[in-house]
C-alpha cells in the first residue's frame, strides 16, 4: 500500500524538479532585474511547442532539443529585455505587470491561431517505459527529465558562483547602486540575466513535453504554477525555486491521487495564500 | 508648568546598539523646543518614538496627560500631533492645495470647509499663490513649507518638525523661522524640532535638548546649552560659540 504512495510521491518529486527549473528562471529574473514576469508560463509553452516542432520535423528527442531551445530562448530573453522591458525597470510595479500580461495574452493567442486549441501529443519511443525499483514504479521519461533539470540548474548555479559575469550579476541583485559605482554595465547584465532566465524556461519547456502535451491554455496555468513555487520557495532564492518545485510537485501528485486530478491545483493555491500571509519570504527567501 | 508632552526614560535598542538611552524631557504648551546633537546621536530614533513610527523598548511618552507610546502613527496624529518628514513626502499627483486638503480632512468631514481651512493654512505658510500647482513641480523650499502646511492642516496641538531647515539657503531658513515664529505667536501651537542648523535653533527655540550617543547631555535655554562644555566638546566645537 505504502509503495503506491511512495511511487506517487517520487513521480511528484521528479515532475517537481522540472517545474522547479521553470520557476528558477522566474526567480533569477525577479531576483536581479526585479521584473515580475507574468508571461513566464506562456514562454514555457512556446518552448514546448518549439520542442514539439523539432520532434515532429526532425525526430529530435526533447532531451536533446533542450540545448537549441534553451539557446534560442536566451537570445529571445536578451532581446526582449533590451528592447521592451528595460524602459519599465524603474516604473511602478503594476505597469510592468500589465506589460507582461499583454505579452502573455499575445503569446497564448498567437499559439492558439497557429496550432489550434487542442493538445499536441509528443509520442516518445520510450514514453511508456518505466523503471522498477523493488515495489516502486517510476516513469523513465520523468527520471530523464528530472536528471536533465538538475543538470541545467547545476550549470546555472556554477555560472553564478564561479564566473566573473555571474558574480557581477549577483552584485547587481545585491546592491544596484554599488554595482553601477564600480562600473558594471547594468543594462547588459540585466539583458544577460533575462536571457539566462528565459533559457531556463526554454529548457524547462523542452522537458515539460515529456510530462504534458503542449496546449495554449497551459500558458496561464504554468505562469501561476511558477509564481506559486517561487513564492513558496522564496523569491530570489535559486535553491528555493527547486525546493518549492519539488514541494508543489509532490503536493499536486498526492492531491491528485487522493482527491481528484482536477482538484490538485486547489491545494497549491491554498498553500500560496497561507505562505503569503504567514511567511511571505517563503522557505528560503530573504525578507526585503 | 503642566507639560503638553513628556518623555520619561525613553530607550530604544537595535540589536545591541543603544540608539536612545533613558531620555527624559518635558515640553510645555506654547513652547518651541529643539533637539540637537551630532549625527548618530539618536535624534531620529527619538523623533520616531514620539511620532508613533517606532515603539520604545522602555519608557513612556505622555501627551496631554495620556500615554501615546505604542500608538500607530495615524492614532498619534488623531490625538493632536502633526509631523513632517526629514525627506519631504508630498503627494506627487495632487496639487498643493489638495495636499493640504488631505490634512484638513482629518477634523472636517465635508470637503468644502476642509478646502477653506486648507487655503487659510496655505496663506499662513506663504504658499497661496502656488495652490494650483502640482506638488511634484515645487522647489525644495516650497516643498518644505508644503510639508509643514499639510501637517498644520490637521489642527495639531503639537508640531513635530524633522530637520525642516535642511537643504535651505540662509534666506530661506530665515523665512521659515519667521513663519514658524509667527505661527507660534498667533496660535500658541507647540513646536518640537530636530535641527542641525544652529542659526534656526538660536532664533526659534525657547529650550534645547542635546543628545549624544543616545543620551541627554544637556538641557536648557539655547544660550546656556551652547556654552556647556560637554556640548561644545561633542558637537559644536569651540568656534561655533559666538
Amino acid at each position: 500500500m505504502w509503495s503506491i504512495y511512495l511511487s506517487v510521491t517520487i513521480q511528484g518529486v521528479l515532475t517537481g524538479l522540472v517545474y522547479g527549473l521553470m520557476a528558477l528562471g522566474l526567480s533569477v529574473i525577479f531576483g536581479v532585474v526585479r521584473v515580475v514576469n507574468f508571461a513566464h508560463g506562456e514562454f514555457a509553452v512556446v518552448a514546448m511547442y518549439a520542442t514539439y516542432v523539432l520532434f515532429t520535423a526532425f525526430r529530435l528527442d526533447p532531451l536533446l532539443a533542450l540545448v537549441p531551445v534553451a539557446a534560442l530562448f536566451f537570445l529571445v530573453g536578451y532581446a526582449l529585455q533590451t528592447a521592451l522591458i528595460n524602459p519599465f525597470v524603474g516604473r511602478p510595479e503594476h505597469e510592468q505587470f500589465i506589460l507582461l500580461v499583454g505579452v502573455g495574452i499575445i503569446i497564448v493567442n498567437v499559439l492558439l491561431i497557429g496550432f489550434g486549441p487542442d493538445a499536441r501529443p509528443v509520442n516518445l519511443s520510450y514514453g511508456f517505459d518505466s523503471y522498477e525499483i523493488g515495489p516502486l514504479l517510476v516513469d523513465k521519461p520523468r527520471v530523464l527529465a528530472a536528471a536533465a533539470a538538475i543538470a541545467v540548474a547545476a550549470a546555472l548555479f556554477w555560472f553564478f558562483r564561479h564566473t566573473r559575469t555571474g558574480a557581477a550579476i549577483r552584485a547587481c541583485a545585491d546592491n544596484l547602486v554599488g554595482a553601477g559605482v564600480i562600473g558594471l554595465n547594468i543594462k547588459r547584465l540585466y539583458a544577460l540575466t533575462f536571457g539566462l532566465g528565459l533559457a531556463c524556461v526554454g529548457a524547462a519547456g523542452a522537458l515539460l513535453v515529456t510530462i504534458a502535451d503542449p496546449a495554449p491554455a497551459l500558458g496561464p496555468a504554468y505562469t501561476l504554477l511558477a509564481f506559486v513555487i517561487v513564492i513558496i520557495g522564496g523569491m530570489g532564492s535559486m535553491a528555493g525555486a527547486l525546493v518549492g518545485g519539488v514541494l508543489i510537485g509532490v503536493s499536486e501528485a498526492l492531491a491528485g491521487f487522493l482527491f481528484a486530478p482536477s482538484m490538485k491545483s486547489m491545494f497549491s493555491f491554498a498553500l500560496l495564500i497561507a505562505v503569503l500571509v504567514l511567511r511571505p519570504q517563503g522557505l528560503m527567501g530573504q525578507r526585503t | 508648568m503642566t507639560a503638553l508632552l513628556s518623555a520619561a526614560n525613553l530607550s530604544k535598542r537595535f540589536r545591541g546598539l543603544v540608539a536612545v538611552d533613558r531620555v527624559t524631557f518635558e515640553v510645555a504648551a506654547g513652547e518651541i523646543f529643539a533637539v540637537i546633537g551630532p549625527n548618530g546621536a539618536g535624534k531620529t530614533t527619538l523623533f520616531a518614538m514620539l511620532a508613533g513610527a517606532l515603539v520604545p523598548d522602555d519608557g513612556t511618552v505622555t501627551f496631554t496627560g495620556a500615554r501615546i507610546d505604542g500608538l500607530t502613527p495615524d492614532a498619534v496624529c488623531r490625538r493632536g500631533i502633526g509631523r513632517t518628514f526629514q525627506i519631504v513626502r508630498p503627494f506627487p499627483g495632487l496639487s498643493v492645495e489638495d495636499n493640504v486638503l488631505v490634512g484638513a480632512l482629518l477634523r472636517r468631514t465635508d470637503t468644502r470647509s476642509a478646502r477653506t481651512h486648507a487655503r487659510a493654512v496655505l496663506e499662513a505658510l506663504d504658499l497661496a499663490d502656488k495652490r494650483a500647482a502640482l506638488a511634484s513641480s515645487l522647489t525644495l523650499p516650497d516643498r518644505k513649507r508644503l510639508e509643514v502646511a499639510r501637517a498644520l492642516a490637521t489642527d495639531p496641538k503639537l508640531l513635530l518638525l524633522d530637520e525642516v531647515m535642511a537643504g535651505l539657503r540662509p534666506t530661506e531658513t530665515d523665512r521659515m523661522v519667521a513663519i514658524l515664529k509667527q505661527l507660534n505667536r498667533d496660535t500658541g501651537i507647540t513646536i518640537l524640532l530636530i535641527e542641525h542648523v544652529m542659526r534656526a535653533v538660536m532664533a526659534l527655540a525657547g529650550r534645547v535638548l542635546v543628545l549624544h550617543h543616545g543620551a541627554a547631555i544637556a538641557q536648557g535655554t539655547p544660550e546656556t546649552v551652547v556654552r556647556d562644555p560637554a556640548v561644545i566638546a561633542s558637537y559644536l566645537g569651540a568656534e561655533a560659540v559666538g
Binding site: R91, F97, L99, P280 | R78
Partner: protein, 333 residues
C-alpha cells in the same frame, strides 16, 4: 450633487448631456446587434469602473476580480432557480457574499502587509481556488454549469430580468451611468481624497491621521460589492454560468483592459476605454471573418497589443489625453 455638476466645465456639460440623450434614444434607430454591442460596452464600463475604484483610486492591484462577478452571478442565479427569489432582491445577497469575500481578501492583504505583486497573486489565488471549487460543487451545477431557463410566458417580467435586448440595454446603461456618478461622488469626497493619499504615499497619509487600513478596506468592499451587481446582470443576461468561464483569470484580465486603456484613477477612463476597445474588437472580428481568416485568437492578440502600446506610451490612459485635446478638463482629480 449640484456641486458635482458645477465642477464640470460648460463644454463638458454639453457633451455629457448630448451623449446621454443619444444613448437613451438610440434603440429607436439602432438594430439588435448594435444594441447588444453597446450593452457589452456598458457592462465593461461598469465592472471596469468598479475595478478602477480599487486600483486607480486606492492603488490595490486585484487580478482576481472575476471572483466577485462569479459570486454575484451564482448567488443571484441560485436564489432564482431554487427559491424563486427575483434578482432585485437576490442582488442584496449577491452583494453581501461578494463584499464578504472582498473584505476577507482585503483583511488578509492589508493586515499582513501583502502589497503590490504579492497582493495581486493573493487575489488570483482566491479566484482560482474558487473556480476549481465551484467545478466540484454539486449544488451550483459543478463544471457542467448553471442555466437559467428560457420561459416564454415570463418574458416581459422586467422585475425578474426576463426580457429582450432592450431591457438589458437600458439596465446596463443605468448601471454604467450610476457607476460613473458613484465614482465621481467618491472622488471628490473625504473618502476619495484619503484613498488617493494612501495610494500616493501611505506613510505620509498615516502621518496625517488617515487610518490606511480602514480606507483600503472601504475601497475593496465597495469595489467588490459593485462588481457583484455586474455579476447578477451577467447571470440574467447570458442565462448561463460555468465556473471555468466566469471565475477564469482571463476574465479578470478582460475587465481591467477598459480602465487601463481609458485611464486609471479618472472618472470617465473606464467608460472611454470600453467605448474604444469593444467596438474595435468587434470590427476586428468582422474584418477577419470577411477576409475568410479563421483565427479565434485574433481579438485577444489585438487587445494584448493595445495593452502593451498603452502601458508603454500612455500609461495614464487615453481619456486624460482626449480630455486635454477637447478642452473637457474639469477641476480637481
Amino acid at each position: 450633487m449640484s456641486d458635482l455638476w458645477r465642477s464640470v466645465n460648460a463644454r463638458g456639460r454639453i457633451v455629457l448631456a448630448l451623449v446621454l440623450a443619444v444613448l437613451l434614444a438610440l434603440p429607436l434607430v439602432a438594430d439588435r446587434y448594435v444594441l447588444s454591442v453597446l450593452t457589452l460596452i456598458f457592462y465593461f464600463a461598469y465592472v471596469g469602473q468598479a475595478w478602477n475604484l480599487m486600483m486607480g483610486y486606492a492603488g490595490q492591484l486585484s487580478l482576481g476580480h472575476a471572483l466577485y462577478v462569479g459570486l454575484g452571478g451564482y448567488v443571484a442565479a441560485l436564489l432564482w432557480l431554487d427559491f424563486g427569489i427575483g434578482p432585485w432582491l437576490g442582488v442584496f445577497a449577491a452583494v453581501a457574499v461578494a463584499a464578504g469575500f472582498g473584505a476577507a481578501i482585503g483583511w488578509l492583504g492589508f493586515r499582513f502587509g501583502i502589497a503590490g505583486v504579492y497582493f495581486a497573486l493573493l487575489t488570483i489565488a482566491f479566484a482560482e481556488f474558487t473556480r476549481i471549487g465551484f467545478d466540484h460543487l454539486g449544488v451550483t451545477g459543478g463544471a457542467a454549469g448553471l442555466f437559467l431557463p428560457f420561459e416564454e410566458k415570463r418574458m416581459g417580467e422586467w422585475w425578474n430580468l426576463r426580457g429582450g435586448q432592450l431591457l438589458f440595454y437600458y439596465l446596463a446603461l443605468a448601471l454604467a451611468a450610476g457607476a460613473v456618478l458613484l465614482v465621481a461622488l467618491i472622488a471628490r469626497s473625504r473618502l476619495g481624497y484619503r484613498l488617493i493619499a494612501v495610494r500616493e504615499d501611505e506613510t505620509a497619509a498615516r502621518a496625517l491621521g488617515i487610518d490606511a487600513f480602514a480606507v483600503k478596506m472601504a475601497a475593496v468592499v465597495i469595489s467588490s460589492a459593485m462588481t457583484a451587481v455586474g455579476g447578477v446582470f451577467y447571470a440574467f443576461y447570458y442565462n448561463n454560468l460555468f465556473p471555468s468561464q466566469v471565475f477564469e483569470i482571463s476574465r479578470s484580465i478582460e475587465l481591467i483592459l477598459a480602465p487601463i486603456v481609458g485611464g486609471l484613477g479618472t472618472v470617465f477612463g473606464p467608460v472611454i476605454g470600453a467605448f474604444v476597445l469593444t467596438p474595435l474588437g468587434e470590427v476586428l472580428i468582422a474584418v477577419t471573418a470577411r477576409l475568410g481568416i479563421d483565427a479565434p485568437g485574433v481579438k485577444a492578440v489585438f487587445y494584448g497589443v493595445i495593452l502593451i502600446v498603452i502601458i508603454y506610451a500612455m500609461p495614464t490612459g487615453v481619456w486624460p489625453r482626449l480630455a486635454g485635446w477637447f478642452g473637457l478638463r474639469s477641476r480637481s482629480p
